[in-house]
């Protein structure tokens, strides 16, 4: 499993595009929003938590179809399915690899973009914390969506249509943590719920995703 993780990480970093693309997209969102809504600091500070979360979510969405599609095309997914490690484990490792190359960099880059959006400094810690807890859920849910659409030739758009509604609870709780944290309110409840979504998704969705892959490989 560790070998698989290392292989996926290497592929993501070396095989061009995937790794930096999400980050660049995240940056673009943070630049475009002020251009769209105007430079007034107060307005930006108000919408910053939501924009940063939506940006992270969309950036995550960009690279989802790469989780399984390339392996499906060159046949290595068949080999992985027949390998001694269970397919559920493969899904979990691939979701983890996806998180390491998109979710984690997004989390680390978020404070820089928060400066652009004029988020008060008191919110930075909450932003990083909520993204660190919430983005793994985005990767796992995304892996499930990617598993559903892996057999399709043009699955990309369909993948977004399937995955975005599933992202709703994560987005709500994630942005709520930042909003409350910035305002100095109590954040325990949304934080706990966000963690619950991540843990439950990580525990259950690999089974659903593996089932979907088995159907697609049939």
């Amino acid at each position: 499993m560790i070998a698989l993780l290392i292989r996926d990480l290497r592929l993501a970093v070396r095989a061009g595009g995937g790794f930096g693309l999400g980050l660049a997209f995240f940056l673009l969102v943070a630049v475009l929003v002020p251009l769209g809504v105007g430079p007034e600091g107060r307005v930006l500070a108000m919408i910053a938590p939501g924009i940063l979360w939506v940006g992270a979510l969309l950036a995550c969405l960009l690279s989802l179809d790469r989780i399984f599609a390339l392996d499906f095309e060159d046949g290595s997914l068949d080999l992985l399915a027949t390998a001694p490690i269970p397919l559920e484990g493969v899904v979990a490792v691939k979701a983890l690899a996806h998180w390491l190359v998109t979710g984690l960099p997004l989390t680390l880059a978020a404070p820089v973009l928060a400066v652009l959006l004029n988020l008060p400094v008191s919110g930075f810690g909450w932003l990083v914390l909520s993204l660190a807890i919430g983005t793994p859920a985005l990767s796992v849910i995304g892996a499930f969506g990617a598993a559903l659409t892996v057999g399709l030739k043009r699955g990309g758009l369909l993948l977004s249509l399937l995955v975005l509604p599933l992202y709703v609870p994560t987005l709500i709780f994630g942005a709520e943590v930042v909003r409350r944290g910035t305002a100095g309110l109590e954040t325990g409840t949304p934080l706990a719920l966000l963690a619950a979504i991540t843990l439950a998704s990580a525990a259950l969705l690999p089974f659903a995703a593996a089932a979907a892959i088995r159907v697609n490989l049939r």
Binding site: F144, L148, T149, G151, L152, G155, L158, L161, L162, L164, P165, L166, V168, P169, I172, F173, E176, T189, P190, L193, I197, L205, A208, A211, A212, V215, N216, R218
Partner: protein, 243 residues
Amino acid sequence: MSSLWEYANPQKFMGLSGRMLPWTAALSSLCLTTGLIWGFFFTPDDFRQGSTVRIIYLHVPAAMMAINAWVMMLVASLVWLIRRHHVSALAAKAAAPVGLIFTLIALVTGALWGQPMWGTWWAWDPRLTSFLILTLFYFGYIALWSAIEDPDTAADLTGVLCIVGSVFAVLSRYAVNFWNQGLHQGASLSLDRQENISDVFWFPLLVCIAGFVLLFVALVLLRTRTEIRARRLSALLARERMG
């Protein structure tokens, strides 16, 4: 003693549904005509909402059936995934567009009512928002069905999506509660509450709800029969090409 599972046989299902369809369709139109005419013309105006209250006869049954249709799809998907009865998978497929239309009816009638009453077509109220999310789930489900060519693969994948989607739909319902306070009035039809809707509105509403339930059953039966016939037709065509 015949069991329910016998109707998993397409032949038996076609027989039963063929006999049921005219009755459910006729009863549904009877209930809807009675309920809507009763509700629209023979009930008093509400003392605060005026005559706009009458939209309840479309809005509430449509919203109820929009959710029930998804639950029916969930049950049908589970039956397909566990027992591999094709009729069940086709029934889930047949129910999705019907459920989507009910969802849209609920959203549109709600907007029409909200404009004079709340002063806005749309508010990010938890109930409204979760209905919008439900619409997205319906769209995704239908899109996945139509994207996959092999019918069994499509049935499997949409079944899995339906189960996972149900969990997330319920989760979203409570998440949006947390996110914004509601403008929408609370439940007023519950059987166990002290203060409920007045009987004058309640009886025609009941008739309308019955009409919508029967309409849903009739449409799903009709569409499932169509799906089964389409499946038989493609099997025949395939056989002809081979032979």
